[in-house]
Chain length 329, copies 2
């Protein structure tokens, strides 16, 4: 919305700590009967619904690693919760509560912090998640954001990363590789930039698949399909064979890979930040699982099969390695 | 333990992401019947005990703000959980689960990361807290650690920051000002350095006070007594009168303030990072509350009274302001 920094622009150093906290919490609290203590106390307290188990995950967004401040700040706040919502979706959980820990430099524009907070509240509201607590602290350099998402799941409906069998079919939601393409400076396609900046967590699909009882194992695809597929099967000491020609691509990704002379299958396979769901189902349940997705307005595409031999291979037996995003190596 | 960096010292950039995660999780998992899904999946899942409410808090430790890498790394890990345990203690909650989000630079020595992880596991074990999940990500600069602590409390036993009355007595646990003194370069006293680097959260005392039903309101003292006392009473639009001569000081703090010509009352009042509990009880319950503390091997000292007039004053009516630690101002 803004073009450049106004002369009267304020920085966080102009605000009190309480005012900085308000940038994140203002308007976040709504009446919620299960919440016994909300923002503003030492800790938040709520009551779990009967027969539900508690689910928790934490993930961050770090300036210079996951985003730069050239990105729309509002989308940074949305993505902070989206990446965690995606983890809950992969467990089949219903998201309920969020805590945000924001480490912010003193020279950050108030407007940027406010937009991050606004984006976080907005996606929280969309998923009926209550922003129940958090913490702000000064950062010597760069914006470091962490969120913890808490949800609930029926114990019998948990979708784990284990419990699959050789012969199970692998299905993935949506399309792959959009965010990887959106990351490129030479790509301007809005669909691909949106996929990068404002990913859509498959929360409704995760709940519906969990409720269906069809899924033997599930995870979200955040570090690239190749890496995450291995993680899904390796706990059971199994492998996977992927049909590269079947990997789902968006029209935008097909168009842009063709224009740039990139291999669309490689883009889809290595991807990263896809935030799609990867699930394993018995061969006889593939069509039923696709129907569940369809009823949610989503898609599931069959992309491979779980194999007794460890490792990741293409249908013509080429080893696919384990590439994908590595934070430190 | 180490003196300088060995020639063969490894940095995080030498490790895979999985190996970095292991620095935090290795040995952290123990059989825990309520835990349905532990580390290594998209999210952790556990079952709450019947009739308990869920309590959550998040707080961080940031290099250059809360610590430098000259501090013992093992203590940094302990303190990361201790500051959160203190928040749970102030609610009367029993700590149960922790998630750690670690944002670490590639050039960080593996040994430092391992010691941080070891310290976190150690204090978690001491408090029977299960390190149930977390996340590691690369930091462009500096170590940024956040922990989310989850606990349980009986809904009728929650100690909030509100619910007190004019005339209630204010009591504080332990002694004040030790960490503030420990922060000074000209202070080497081990008791004061320990208070700074390795604070002891009053978890058992918080549980016992909560169980006693004697406490009308409570908070932890983390940003200095002056600031936290105001926060405790202002939600009910009340004030507080503090008896500065009554503020509890350690022998080490008395000795060091005398030697350096500092005002011990001011040190205790402004403090910061004390991680003591500040509670309000009815006048007739003061002795009973002290007995509860004694039975836990802790102390509670009466330091003031809640007043109908807002603001913070000394017994001789001098306004005490709201000083203390401010992150941004």
């Amino acid at each position: 919305m803004t073009t450049g920094v106004r002369a009267d622009a304020r920085i966080l150093g102009d605000l009190s700590e309480a005012e900085v906290i308000l940038l994140f919490t203002d308007g976040a609290s709504r009446p919620y009967p299960e919440v016994l203590v909300g923002n503003g106390d030492d800790a938040a307290v709520w009551q779990l619904r009967p027969k539900m188990a508690q689910v928790a995950t934490t993930d961050g967004q770090v300036e210079g690693v996951h985003f730069t401040l050239d990105a729309p700040a509002h989308a940074i706040g949305r993505k902070l919760l989206a990446v965690n919502l995606s983890d809950l979706a992969a467990m089949g959980a219903e998201p309920r509560y969020a805590l945000i820990a924001a480490c912010l430099p003193r020279d950050l524009l108030v407007e940027i912090a406010r937009d991050i907070g606004r984006g976080a509240r907005e996606i929280a509201f969309e998923h009926r998640v209550h922003l129940i607590g958090g913490n702000v602290t000064r950062s010597p350099k760069g914006v470091v954001l962490h969120a913890t998402l808490l949800g609930e799941v029926e114990p019998s409906k948990i979708m784990r990363r284990s419990g699959l069998y050789a012969g199970d079919r692998l299905l993935v939601s949506g399309t792959l590789g959009n965010a990887r393409l959106g990351l490129r400076a030479d790509v301007t396609h809005a669909v691909l930039k949106d996929a990068l900046f404002d990913p859509v967590p498959r929360v409704g699909l995760g709940r519906a698949l969990s409720a269906s009882g069809l899924v033997r194992a599930a995870c979200d695809v955040s570090d690239g399909l190749a890496r995450d597929a291995v993680r899904l099967v390796e706990q059971d000491r199994l492998g996977a064979v992927l049909d590269l020609a079947a990997l789902p691509l968006s029209a935008a990704a097909r168009e842009v890979t063709a224009a740039l002379g990139l291999d669309p299958q490689e883009i889809a396979l290595l991807g990263g930040e896809d935030y799609e769901l990867l699930v394993a189902v018995a061969p006889e349940d593939v069509e039923a699982a696709k129907d569940v997705a369809r009823a949610e307005g989503e898609t599931l595409t069959e992309i491979g099969v779980v194999s007794a031999d460890p490792g990741l291979f293409s249908s013509n037996k080429v080893p696919l390695g384990k590439s994908g995003f590595e934070h430190f190596g």
